[in-house]
Symmetry: C2
Subunit: 224 residues, 2 copies
């Protein structure tokens, strides 16, 4: 997609995926407005990473929205009484790190921001690996949200809808590491761990997927 | 719809429409959890009305979510530099009181709350009169959101989707006054004015529609 001088809102969590979307958009010459959420997450530390990555890429602006989803919890990320799974999640089951409605709220808020500043696109780091676990990361979900986005606002009515851009949706984590590297993402500054400690726990699903893919990617790099 | 002992999340703005949805749900014997938004609106006074109405109907719980949409404005309700139209809005034009993405964010957040507490329904006061002005109050928009809601979460995956319930969608304001009256809504405690003063301005679109409909309804009541 041609992003040169296009205005884009990117959801920036501070993790590898959204940082990679940011890196690709920067390489393509987009005008980037970031959006992060202080939503009552256990791993609030990711917001420091989000600011660092935004600063690294010298983006146009970064808004941090406060929205306290711990008011009703429903996830181990927003309710500290629930334990983060540290031995891998069961296949075909939605893990308890799934936060009810989170992506729908985040994309809706990005849509508000994009319409207000007249941006053309919303960049999202959703990807195929998340597909197995979280219902709100699937390609079908994104397609449906695009239809809603088009119907919901002034831009859609003017036949110039705001587009959801998901460049990682069909990639696995190894391919994402490769893209991150190619697009100057400071991988060491990104933060993926769910556990909320000072250092990554190495055991939560997010850490396990990241470490496994990183090791595989390094091997591929060495052998190429 | 049979709501007896059904758990429902209702978006409560403090205005006539959402208060009427609340009244209907109460009459039908639903278990009601209210959700209001402190979103940087000029007429923050509506939140006092929301609390009063919730208290009048002795609902199960009322959550007030803070989410500052004035960070990017884009509406006369969230940016005080823009003036509220006081002489009526032009036909076929979206008035500047439209808040980008507001309904999408509100319904998404209600979906998060409903999933976390395992509610069956989300009650919304959108109606046909709003249809002319705001793109995110149209029946098509609600239908599309239902599809997204079903795809987005655990409940949809279990073939037990959370339903969007919009009992006022095809009614006009006079019919809504009648329903409010029949369902013991304390109409005098509801707040519709956009202007943010101590008393309703009587001139903004919301006041004008309300006053006009109220007068017509009173005449119908007298003649019946």
């Amino acid at each position: 997609m041609n992003l040169y001088q296009k205005k884009i809102v990117i959801l920036i969590s501070g993790g590898l995926d959204s940082s990679t979307v940011l890196g690709i958009a920067k390489t393509k010459g987009a005008i980037i407005n970031g959006l992060s959420f202080d939503y009552g997450q256990r791993h609030k530390k990711e917001l420091i990473a989000a600011k660092n990555i935004a600063s690294h890429f010298a983006i146009n602006d970064l808004k941090v929205i406060k929205l306290d989803l711990s008011l009703w919890g429903g996830s181990s990320l927003t309710d500290t009484r629930k334990k983060i799974p540290l031995n891998g999640s069961k296949a075909n089951e939605i893990p308890n790190t799934y936060v009810p409605g989170r992506n729908t709220i985040f994309i809706a808020t990005a849509l508000s921001y994009a319409e207000a500043i007249n941006a053309d696109l919303i960049g999202l780091g959703v990807n195929a690996l998340d597909y197995s676990g979280y219902p709100d990361c699937r390609p079908d979900y994104i397609k449906q949200f695009q239809k809603l986005a088009t119907l919901s606002n002034r831009r859609g009515r003017e036949n110039n809808p705001i587009k959801l851009w998901t460049p990682l949706i069909n990639l696995n984590k190894i391919e994402i590491f490769e893209l991150a590297y190619k697009n100057q993402v400071p991988i060491e500054q990104t933060w993926s761990c769910y556990s909320g400690g000072a250092q990554p726990c190495g055991a939560c699903d997010s850490c396990r997927i990241r470490i496994h893919a990183f090791n595989q990617w390094m091997q591929l790099e060495k052998s190429s």
